[in-house]
Symmetry: C2
Subunit: 210 residues, 2 copies
DNA sequence: TAATACAGCGTACAATTGTACGCTTAACTA
DNA sequence: TAGTTAAGCGTACAATTGTACGCTGTATTA
């Protein structure tokens, strides 16, 4: 393998993927995209598409997978930034928003297919977001003295808030986006603060009882 | 007006709307629905559709509007339940989840078109959710001593968390759903608790400064 | 009662869609 | 080198789509 043949195949495969990604935009979703459109954009005959994917759904799942890779890199980036700069929440939100601004189409893909028509898609996206939650959950449990359950609940809340803010930011002007960002940061602070408070209240009552 | 003629017209109009609503499901979204499908389901000729709506988008916006009515009734219901039972958060979440379970298709419509292809749709849904945020915001400001800004930020966070939980609940088994509900309630508590804490911290430092 | 308005229908057409089928041609294998 | 494999193409076809156009029959209006 890895001969001229396989190489060329991989090349057109990428062409298809890129064509699909390129066609994503505010008013063009993956589900509203036809096989022929993708083929046209990729510069191949419609029927050649089948040499690479069973159908559009298969291509879509590949796209979701690829965007998962991008997302995980995002997390790594955020982590190293946090080590440099300190403020966890601020840095995380900044990094995430930067990602959304730079890859609006990938984000839109996840956003739409999360609630889309295809169960396979929904599941795939849910899995990607789950990754996010679990990584953050571990981080929180390690960093602070949350028990695993509380850490997960907190992480889930944080991810939900950030992810949603990203979704809303897509349609916004820069200044509006800035205000949203600030509110989001506050919400994350409140959530974290409240969780800490809950831990404290629990341990206080435990002490009183002893 | 209100003659036989106008009455019949209103009747078929409702038939169209109902047909569209009926066709919404987990694997059939409004955007993937054709004019002809709706017409078929409504028992009219495809071309007759135009006697009532300019195009599918116009019908969609009407649906969003109608679901807004349902949502607002939901809020009213929640409020009267709270007066009866007391626990604000628990009751709100219960009521909301009940709504989602009872009107999954309406909820799916909002969920999907919120991030959909049509700017008009996105805006319409955003507006409905905004209603939610603002009503809750007012309620919070009145009930507690939050300033308007903080109240809004808090309300936004709460609505985001609940709405999202509803979205995830759609695909879940009852027991999984129950666990989600419990986590959501915790998240709402933390958020509220954190906001109160923030207010307290502020007023404490203000006192020290004086 | 005569004239008008209009909801609903059927026909028609051009686009577009997914995909079955068989061919070509270049890379691979033995 | 001879035989095989398979990526990519073109043709073809049946479905389906949105919608333009003109007709019909009935409720409304004058």
């Amino acid at each position: 393998m890895s001969g001229t043949r396989a190489l060329q195949k991989e090349k057109t495969r990428q062409a298809i993927i890129n064509a699909a990604l390129a066609h994503l935009s505010a008013d063009h979703s993956f589900s509203s995209m036809s096989l022929r459109e993708v083929a046209r954009e990729a510069g191949i005959a419609p029927t050649s598409f089948y040499r690479h994917f069973d159908d559009m759904e298969a291509l879509g799942l590949t796209l979701v997978d690829e965007s998962g890779v991008t997302l995980r890199e995002l997390m790594r980036q955020a982590r190293s930034r946090i080590e440099l700069k300190g403020s966890v929440i601020q840095t995380s939100v900044d990094t995430f928003m930067e990602f959304v601004e730079r890859n609006p189409n990938i984000f839109r893909l996840l956003l739409r297919e999360r609630t889309g028509i295809s169960p396979a898609f929904r599941e795939a996206v849910a899995k990607e977001i789950e990754h996010f939650k679990e990584e953050l959950s571990e981080y929180l449990a390690q960093e602070s003295n949350y028990n695993p359950q509380l850490a997960y609940t907190l992480a889930e809340g944080l991810v939900t808030l950030v992810f949603n803010a990203g979704a809303e930011a897509l349609d916004m002007e820069p200044e509006e986006r800035k205000a949203l960002k600030e509110r989001t940061i506050l919400q994350l602070r409140y959530l974290t603060l409240g969780a800490q408070q809950a831990v404290k209240l629990e341990s206080d009552t435990a002490k009183e009882a002893s």
